[in-house]
């Protein structure tokens, strides 16, 4: 197999890798905010439960969670396994990443001094207005480097989807490596991941620059 055919074949998998990446971000970013707000809830029971789930999601391997979401319902209730593996993959990834994002959001929100809330209250802002107009914009700015870290990890984590037979780029690479008894597909996969992350890094860098309006 020539290098060009190999790259062409693996590009097909790139589409599926991108599908996991974008859909996970789409769901995990807002979900993480909900989780973070619940985690900071004044109600001890709610924050306790959420805290427990976060420790479970961060304390067990993503691959295990992926297997649980995909095959769990079948083993527990005899339900059919989804033919479209993108669904369980995105569910598992979104929940897992939401847990990480939530903790980053929480760190960001709690880093804002109390005085700002008091100042906002004096100026007559409602709690929602204070959060949306004053707190959130600062939080976004502060957490961006940590978010870049997670997003880059997400790109590489997509390869875990092979555990449930979702044919993303690394799976196809493995298949070619097998049939050709060659190491080359792994090199190609490595280059693909690097380029993907290079783009991600640049885009996140642009955001950071745009938000750096005080210096």
């Amino acid at each position: 197999m020539s290098l060009m055919t190999m790259i062409a074949k693996m590009s097909e998998g790139l589409e599926k890798t991108c599908a996991i990446f974008f859909l996970t971000l789409l769901f995990a970013i807002p979900l993480g905010m909900i989780v973070a707000l619940l985690r900071m809830s004044k109600n001890k029971i709610i924050s306790g439960i959420v805290r427990f789930f976060i420790t479970v999601l961060r304390g067990t391997p993503l691959m295990l969670q992926l297997l649980a979401v995909t095959y769990g319902p079948h083993y527990l209730f005899g339900a059919d396994i989804s033919r479209n593996k993108l669904i369980p993959v995105v569910i598992a990834f979104s929940i897992n990443y939401a847990a990480y994002f939530a903790e980053i959001y929480r760190g960001g929100i709690e880093s804002i001094p109390k005085g700002q809330y008091e100042a906002a209250a004096v100026l007559g802002y409602s709690r929602l207005q204070t959060f949306m107009r004053i707190i959130l914009p600062q939080v976004v700015k502060r957490i961006l480097p940590s978010m870049t870290n997670e997003v880059i990890t997400l790109v590489k984590d997509t390869s875990i989807a092979f555990a449930v037979s979702y044919e993303e780029i690394f799976t196809i690479g493995k298949q070619i490596a097998n049939s050709q008894t060659s190491f080359m597909p792994f090199v190609v996969a490595g280059v693909f991941y690097y380029l993907f992350n290079f783009v991600v890094d640049r885009i996140m860098g642009l955001f950071e620059k745009r938000l750096n309006y005080y210096s």
């Binding site: 037979s165 799976t171 097998n178 049939s179």
Partner: protein, 261 residues
């Protein structure tokens, strides 16, 4: 204080390195690379240690040659890379001999098992032959000869499928089948026989596809090692030990080349 700390760190590092190096070959250890999820050839037994036909035979070979057997579970789709990396001395686990292995220079033993591929479907499935698979989804384990066949010799058949799902273990293939995510599993006959016997609700189609043989793979240049193992195998066959072990695995006896010459 800092100086002592760094000295301590250095000592720990050295120890760690020494621990890694201690697996140096004293010439008498033989590391067998197996797929730990491949009954009846190699699998994790009820007592928690690896067993299976290949494992028992290899143990007997090592006993004959006075070697100490060590078992290493390989990642099946990277078995040859792991062999090259000297993580194991051979791959011996119901491994189908492929031309590409020989072309890549690996030393392959004489074949010891004659194998075919079969299709496994659910009991109530309407599929009765490979011709009924048009527009269906078929599961296959990555790195197995079934996968290679669908890509090469049987690519015409594979072209009629709706799609092929590649799983990282054959157990997942069967899980997918049981959960209706695929319509059939394409797998080696002994594995299929073993699985269907232990799990209700599946049947093997009476159609054998793709004849092939199992062998043992060694690194290129390990011709002597291969010859030693082959000689030991011949001894075991002639003194009846081979047949004795084979008798414990009635499902595969008929296809063992050494016993059916």
């Amino acid at each position: 204080m800092k100086k002592y700390l760094s000295l301590l760190m250095a000592a720990i590092l050295l120890l760690a390195l020494a621990a890694c190096g201690s697996s140096s070959d004293d010439g008498s250890k033989f590391i067998m690379g197996i797929d730990p999820e491949y009954p009846p050839f190699s699998y994790l037994g009820d007592d928690g240690s690896y067993t299976g036909f290949d494992v028992e035979i290899c143990q007997a070979v090592c006993d004959t040659l006075g070697w100490k057997l060590e078992i290493f579970g390989v990642n099946w789709d990277q078995k040859l890379i792991q062999l090259d990396a000297k993580e194991c001395d051979c791959v011996w686990s119901g491994m189908t001999i492929l031309d590409s292995m020989k072309e890549a220079g690996y030393v392959i033993s004489k074949p010891y098992y004659f194998n075919t591929q079969v299709l496994v479907v659910k009991d109530d499935s309407a599929i009765s032959s490979s011709a009924d698979l048009a527009g269906k989804i078929v599961a296959v384990q990555l790195g197995t000869s079934g996968e290679a066949l669908l890509n090469e010799d049987l690519s015409d058949l594979a072209a009629t499928f709706k799609s092929v799902t590649t799983c990282d273990s054959f157990l997942k293939c069967f899980t997918e089948l049981s959960g209706n995510a695929v319509d059939a599993v394409f797998v080696d006959l002994p594995v299929a026989t073993n699985y269907v016997k232990e799990h209700a609700g599946f049947k093997i189609l009476d159609e054998q596809l793709g004849a092939e043989e199992y062998g043992i793979a060694f690194r290129s240049g390990d011709k002597d090692l291969c010859a030693k193992v082959e000689d030991a195998l011949a001894t075991l066959v002639s003194n009846g030990k081979y047949a004795e072990i084979a008798a414990k695995y009635p499902d595969i006896v008929d296809n063992l080349i050494f016993l059916n010459d």
